[in-house]
Each structure stands twice: as C-alpha cells, then as structure tokens.
C-alpha cells in the first residue's frame, strides 16, 4: 500500500520535471535570451573589477585579483541563487497565467510532491545554466583559484539548497494570496535578498537593521562560505559551521514554507482566488 502510493507520487514527481523540460525546450529562444542576460550581468561585474585599477588600484596587483575573484564569485553565486529562486517563485504565477493552475491543484497528488517536483526541476536547470556561465568566466578572466578548496565550497553549496528551496516556496505563495500583486512582490523579495545577503560586499558595511536582516538570510552564509573556500582555501572542518547553519535554516524553512503554502491554498479556495473566469 505504502509502496503503491510512493510510486504514485514519484510518477507525478517525474511528471513535473518532464513538463518543465518540455517547457524549457519549447521556450528555448526565451530561455536563451535569459541566459545571455545573466551571462552579461556577471561579465559586467567581472569587467567592473578589471576596471577598478583606473580607480586607484594598480593593475596586476594581487589585491585587485582578489577583488575580482570576490566580486565574480558573488555575481555567479547570486545568478545561480536568483535563477533557482525565480524558477520556484514563479511556478504558481506561470500556471495561473497559462490557466492550468486549477488542473494541477485538482490532481490526486500531494502538494509536497508538486512543490518538490518544481524545486527539483528548478535546481537542475539552475545548476546547468550556472555551470555554463562559470565556464565562460574561466575562459574570459584570469582567475587565480590556486588557494581554492573545492570540497568545502561544494559542501556549502549543497547545504544552501534546502533554505533556497524554502525561500522560493515562500515566495511562490504570494500569487496565491494576491493574484494581482503577487508577481511584483516576488521581484521585491529578490531585490531585498540582493541587498542584505552580502553579494558584492561584506554585510558588516550595512547599517544596523539591514545588517541584522543579513544575518538572518541563508544566502549570506552561502556567499560567505563559498567565497572563503574559493579565495582562502577554507577547510572542510572550517566549513562545518556554515553548513550547519544552512542545514538548520533549511530544516526550518522548507516544512514551514510547505505548511504556509497549504494554508494559502485553503484561503484561495475559500475566497475563490484560484481563478476568476469561466
């Protein structure tokens, strides 16, 4: 019995990944433009770093190289995090826009399966795109990764997945609460995360309240930890505190976001917000 229902949910789970794959393929031109946009955003940060010399730092100076790596790692990680975040956050908006939302919500599957399916597809797609951009960076910039400890970076990167999914699911709730304004709110959330999570600067430069918010943002630990590992060879044991914090945040955020999603779904069904016409 349990085996059967697990197989049922797994089948649906693959269905979501398959659907996303088909959507990405059908919207390939649109996806290509997005990838290009993300790539040039990261590149412009890289060249900004190269240009820092004109602002006073000497070219070839080791500090300059460090600054460039610092900024590039931030830009690349941020691109990855925001791509995955957006993919999940817009899952509901997208279905509302296509008009399929009632069909997905009516299906005999657990909401958890639905959400995890969307998360898995977003992760796979996000990693693939970030890898392509990362490859371009290696070719275009003279990066000094001689001190990097890749295992520590990977451990932190992996641990960051859980809280990232939690944040994405939380944001995907917004269009369920407000069909009209939910979509724009997702952009606002992303903007705030960019500001407080120390993407291009250490959060210590932020004024008090923003600094505090930064301490609460899981992205802060992701960016900080991966940077330490790539720039200064943070050891695996040294990475453990960051990994631990990220895992704890994920273990809290994911169930909380799924629970809130359920409450928002109930509310939408009570108020008739899933769909208006027909």
């Amino acid at each position: 019995m349990i085996g059967n229902s697990l197989r049922w949910e797994l089948n649906a789970f693959t269905g979501f990944i398959e659907r996303q794959k088909n959507l990405y393929r059908r919207y390939w031109a649109w996806e290509a433009v997005w990838l290009l946009y993300n790539l040039v955003s990261v590149l412009s940060i890289g060249y900004l770093a190269s240009g820092l010399s004109t602002l006073g730092l000497e070219p070839g100076h080791s500090n300059l190289q460090q600054a460039q790596l610092y900024l590039l790692v931030g830009a690349l990680l941020w691109t990855y995090l925001s791509m995955v975040f957006f993919e999940i956050a817009f899952a509901i908006t997208w279905e509302r826009w296509e008009g399929t939302i009632e069909y997905t919500f009516m299906a005999p599957i657990r909401r958890l399966t639905h959400l995890l399916g969307m998360c898995a597809a977003s992760l796979i797609y996000g990693i693939a795109r970030a890898a392509l951009i990362g490859l371009a960076l290696v070719f275009l910039f003279n990066l000094d990764l001689s001190h990097a400890n890749y295992w520590a970076a990977l451990a932190i990167f992996a641990a960051a997945t859980l809280p990232l999914l939690g944040l994405g699911i939380f944001t995907s709730i917004l269009p369920l609460l407000s069909p009209e304004k939910g979509e724009q709110m997702a952009f606002a959330v992303q903007g705030v995360l960019l500001l407080i999570s120390g993407v291009y600067y250490p959060i210590t430069v932020l004024p008090g309240p923003l600094h505090l918010a930064g301490i609460l943002s899981p992205l802060t630990y992701t960016l900080d930890g991966v940077r330490e590992a790539l720039l200064h060879g943070l050891s695996l044991t040294g990475a453990l505190p960051d990994v631990g914090i990220l895992l704890v945040m994920g273990i809290v955020l994911v169930p909380a976001s799924v629970w809130c999603f359920g409450r928002a779904e109930e509310r939408a069904k009570r108020l008739g917000l899933l769909k208006r016409s027909g």
Partner: protein, 281 residues
C-alpha cells in the same frame, strides 16, 4: 481507475444545502477600513442535489446562475461556506484527496500550456493520475482520433490549434484519466455541429462502457434533452426544478407541450416576474 465496490453503494454526488458567497470581507480587509467594501455575491444559495451513479445529469441555468461554482466545489477547487458535498461518499472538503482520485473536469476554456504540444500536455496530465507509461501515446491517439482530431496536430504547439480543437484535447485529457465522475462545464461551447455530435457520442459511450457518472453544464438545451437522464435548472444560485427532461417539459413547458427550451424559458421567466414583484413590494 476503477471505483471500489464500497463506493458503488454511495451516490455519485450528494449535496446538502451548500451555499457559497464571493467577495466577503476577509479578516485582512476588516483591518483596512479605508478600502472600499465590495458587495458580496451569493453564488449558491442552499443547493441540495442527489446524483445517482452512472447517470448523465444536466445543469441548466442562465449566465451567472452558479453552475461553474457548483462544479468547482465538487472539484475541490472551492470550499463551500455552509452545507456539505460528497462525491462517492467522500466529503469534498475533509476528504479532498479521495475525491480527487475519482473525478476530472472539463472547463469552458481549454486550459493548457500553450507552447507545449497536445501530447506533452496529455503526458503531464497522465503522470498526475498515475499514468504516462508505455501505451499512453497509443491511448491518446485513439482518443483523439475518435474525437475527429487530425493526428498531425498532436506534436504541434497547442497555440496553433483552433479553439474547437483545443477543446477536444481538453475533453480527451479528462477521459484519459478514466474518472468515475466527470464534471463537464460547457464542453461543447464553441464546437462546430459535427464536433459537437462527436463529443456527445463520446459522452454517451463512456457512460455506457464504464458506468461513469457525468455532470454536464450546458446552454444547449437540445443537447441536454438528448444526453441527460435528469436535468436540474438553477437560477440565482437556487435549484428551481429537477427531473427527467420529459418531466420538466410536461410540467413546465406550458399547456400545448413544447421543448425543454420552453420549459427553461418559463421556469427562469417565472423567477424574473417574482423578482419584479419583490421589488414592487
């Protein structure tokens, strides 16, 4: 999916006095007195309904009478404010997961991922209902062929299909999951006469072959007369009359007999007169 034996003893649909009001002042709104209050709309007013398993039941009513609201409540997409609704003995609110396994719905507008092909959309739907393995493709092809959809449309983006063709894919999608209760909200609106016939034939045949129960909202009274074992006329969220098409014609169509359309006009017309009398009072 086959329905379990125990389910067969329960009525397909049992609705007890459900009401649904839209645009109520929510808890958040109460805290925002500066927002303009919306006038709530009573979409369903203490509706009760019993549908036997294996029947086709028509729901007739003017625009805005509450047909789609009723269908959505049975589809677990809306929660009623009051009353109780059960599908094969399962409560649509507290046992929604059990209800979902037995139902599917076709809505007026074909709701698809428009860039994806009919096949990709069907495959997605099949996966959500435990299918999608080998043989799905041939089942989809057989279904669409039966509905008269050219097979070369199967792999084109959905947006390139005409509205009627999209509607046929929507109908095929709902049949694909073999629901025991099929909720059809104006499935033939926008179809040409031949396609309409093909859909109607398919509805009759699934009822015959699989003992499925169908709830059919329609504005086509001829269709209701031909297809339905029973019809329910609702207006302003209330059930006005219920019975076989022949009963309704006999009782409501007027002294010199007539069609279901005459009965419908007289029934809903009576309501209009009542409304006017109420206003005058």
């Amino acid at each position: 999916m086959a329905i379990r034996v125990s389910d067969l003893n329960a009525a397909a649909v049992e609705i007890e006095s459900i009401s649904k009001r839209f645009g109520q002042v929510g808890r958040m709104r109460q805290l925002m007195p500066w927002r303009k209050p919306k006038t709530p709309k009573l979409a369903l007013d203490r509706v009760s309904l019993h549908v036997d398993t294996g029947r086709i039941t028509g729901i007739l009513g003017a625009n805005g009478s509450g047909k789609s609201t009723l269908i959505r409540i049975l589809a677990t997409l809306l929660t009623p404010d009051a009353g109780r609704a059960c599908v094969f003995g399962y409560d649509v609110v507290t046992q929604a997961a059990d209800v979902r396994r037995h139902i599917n719905r076709v809505s007026v507008e074909a709701s698809f991922f428009k860039e994806m092909s009919p096949w990709e959309n069907m495959l997605y739907a099949a996966r959500l209902y435990g299918g999608g393995g080998d043989g799905t493709r041939s089942r989809v092809e057989a279904m669409l062929e039966r509905l008269g959809l050219p097979l070369d449309t199967l792999d084109k983006p959905m947006k390139q299909l005409s509205r009627g063709q999209q509607q046929k894919v929507a109908i095929a999608r709902s049949f694909l999951t073999s629901p025991s209760l099929l909720l059809m909200d104006e499935p033939t609106t926008g179809l040409d006469p031949r396609s309409k016939r093909e859909v109607q034939d398919l509805v009759t045949s699934i009822r015959r072959d699989r003992a499925a129960t169908v709830l059919l909202c329609t504005h086509d009274l001829q269709e209701a007369e031909v297809l339905c074992d029973r019809v329910v006329v609702i207006d302003h969220g209330r059930v006005l009359a219920e019975g076989t098409p022949a009963d309704l014609i006999r009782i409501h169509a007027g002294p010199d007999g007539g069609s279901l359309e005459d009965a419908f006009m007289r029934l809903t017309g009576k309501r209009l007169e009542e409304d006017e009398e109420e206003k005058e009072e």
